[in-house]
Amino acid sequence: MKLIEKTGRTYFRISLLALIISGAIVYFALSYIFRRALNENLLSDIDAVSRTITEKNILPSYFPYIEVKETTGRTNAEDRISDTLIFDRDEQESIPFRQIRRVISANGKTYLITARDTLPENSDLAITIAFVTGVVLILLLLSLYLANRKLSLRIWRPFYRILADLKRFSYNDPGFTFSPAGNLEEFIELKSDLEILTGKIISDYRMLKRFTGDASHELQTPLAIIQSKLETLMQLNDLKSEHYELISSAYTQTIRVSRLAQTLLLLTKISNDQFPDRQIVNISVITEEKIIILSESYSEKQFTIEEDIKPGVNIETNTFLFESLIMNLLTNAFRHSASHATIEIILDENEMIISNSGPAPAFDTEKIFDRFFKGDKSSSTHGLGLSIVKEICSVNNWEVRYIYENGRNNFIVSF
């Protein structure tokens, strides 16, 4: 629910309640005042009638408003006020009346004077009041709505601007700033808190990146020493096969760590945007070239490779990054395919699809692009290849997604 809607609803509820209460008060007040005025009129009517009887000895009669009857009742009794219904022949319905009765003695006789006047029907009064209240409610709400709109447009504007800024916040964007907060204290506070928060995120992210980069970089020299020592060691004469076994194992693992460090360094560099050199690259040629190189390395698996590569597709990107992208995607497809699988590569200006036949993955494919994620935990790979793919796509504003469809694992890059 939007703020303006929420406040609107609250205003509506409160005004409705207030107007109902005030309507009831108005109703009771009006009917009270009306009856009092009616009583006073009726009393003055009776006074006038009794004066006429006493002074002129005339018995006025104007049914149903004035009625005079001779009676035997006591004269010192109080006036009796009551409501009554009198049938109106013209309108064929009973009409409510208020009547006051008084017994007077005049000229030696006793008279009962009844003065009546029509009472307004309660429902008429109620309808009128409800109508007026309704009109007031509508006017009130309309003005509230307009005021609210104007308020949210003007007063809340900095808030919405800051919100929009926050949405496009990226820890990668060095020039990120918030829009002005206006002169309201709350928004100024909000903005400064958010600035502290985003500043912290950016600096943490940078520190993490620098750390990864530095750590990978610092690993290279010791690894170079280990590697060269092992190479020197394996040149010694009189080594037995068990020595070679040990050296070989140490050597293989050294190379593995060194590749891992290099890959982490590459990931950091990509996300640091350290490949600014962009040119028009014929990606069809690169793709075909890399397919040949990898097919050779995997020739013993006897894959069927189907290519649908549109010739001469040119894209503005960094050559090295595109090579890394295609090599990682191809290696992924080749590596995870069983012998005799079909690997398909489709490329045109809009997208590139690399797919391989095989069973559906048994792991959560949402994580497939995560760093160090390995579908097969026992695999000797480091699980960074697809993270690199994702990172390269992200710096190029491309989209990469994975889907399993018709017995094929598809990686789709949309340029």
């Binding site: 970089h217 290279q220 020299t221 690894l223 170079a224 020493i225 280990i226 590697q227 060269s228 020592k229 190479e231 020197t232 394996m234 040149q235 096969s241 070679y244 076994e245 050296i247 070989s248 194992s249 050597y251 293989t252 050294t254 190379i255 060194s258 590749r259 290099q262 890959t263 360094l265 560099k269 350290q274 490949f275 050199d277 890399k290 190189i293 990898l294 050779e296 390395s297 020739s299 013993e300 090295f320 090599m327 990682n328 191809l330 290696t331 590596r335 000797s380 790979t381």
Partner: protein
């Protein structure tokens, strides 16, 4: 052949020095910017191996000095800084080649040889091992007097093996040499086996000798022993 190795990591410096000395190069070493400056201002070298990250100064600044004092020297840059910019700057400033840490000693040896040959030092353009003669200018291979038809990859492997003869050559180093940067994506070296198998067959067909020996779990040794 006199080589100056400028490298601040003593362990690495010693290993490189020993390795190159066993290849019959004369080696001198410098482990800092200033030591390198001293060496360069006094002596002449045929080849300089330069690490870019040095205590006391930036290795890139030394390139200028080297080009001033040792115009004819071959210059091979060696650095953990595998960033593209450093590589381009280094090569622009007059370095002949660039190799990044960690590297295979066999690869270093191969690069040094081809660099010296490119710079026309008295390194013959003929690579000879017993009855195998390779003319590295034309890329022709003669075994036992007969011209052998080798594929590009077989040729590269053979040259690499002869340059690093009598030494254990790891499969990784060989694959990296032949495959270049793409090697980091390979997870098996079966493709190397098939090239080696074919190469071995082609040599044996002509002279009946098997020079390529398997070294268990590691790689190969090209030797007639």
């Amino acid at each position: 052949m006199k080589i100056l190795i400028i490298e601040d990591e003593k362990e690495l410096l010693v290993t490189i020095k020993k390795y190159l000395e066993s290849e019959n190069y004369m080696c001198e070493t410098a482990d800092s910017y200033f030591a390198a400056e001293d060496c360069l201002s006094v002596f002449n070298y045929d080849l300089i191996i330069l690490d870019l990250t040095l205590p006391g100064g930036n290795g890139l600044d030394l390139i200028e000095l080297i080009r001033e004092r040792n115009k004819q020297a071959g210059l091979l840059i060696l650095s953990a800084r595998d960033s593209l910019e450093d590589k381009i700057t280094g090569l622009d400033m007059g370095a002949d080649d660039y190799i990044t840490k960690p590297f295979h000693l066999a690869e270093l040896n191969s690069r040094i040889r081809s660099l010296l040959r490119r710079r026309h030092f008295d390194v013959s353009n003929e690579l000879i091992f017993n009855d195998i003669i390779i003319d590295t200018d034309s890329g022709s291979v003669y075994i036992n007097g007969q011209k052998a038809e080798l594929t590009r990859k077989e040729y590269d492997i053979l040259v690499y093996m002869i340059v690093n003869r009598n030494r254990v050559i790891t499969r990784d180093a060989l694959a990296e040499h032949v495959w270049g940067d793409n090697i980091s994506y390979a997870d098996n070296f079966d493709f190397i086996y098939s090239h080696i198998k074919n190469l071995r067959k082609k040599i044996e067909k002509v002279n009946g000798k098997n020079y390529i020996h398997n070294i268990y779990g590691i790689g190969y040794k090209f030797t007639d022993e």
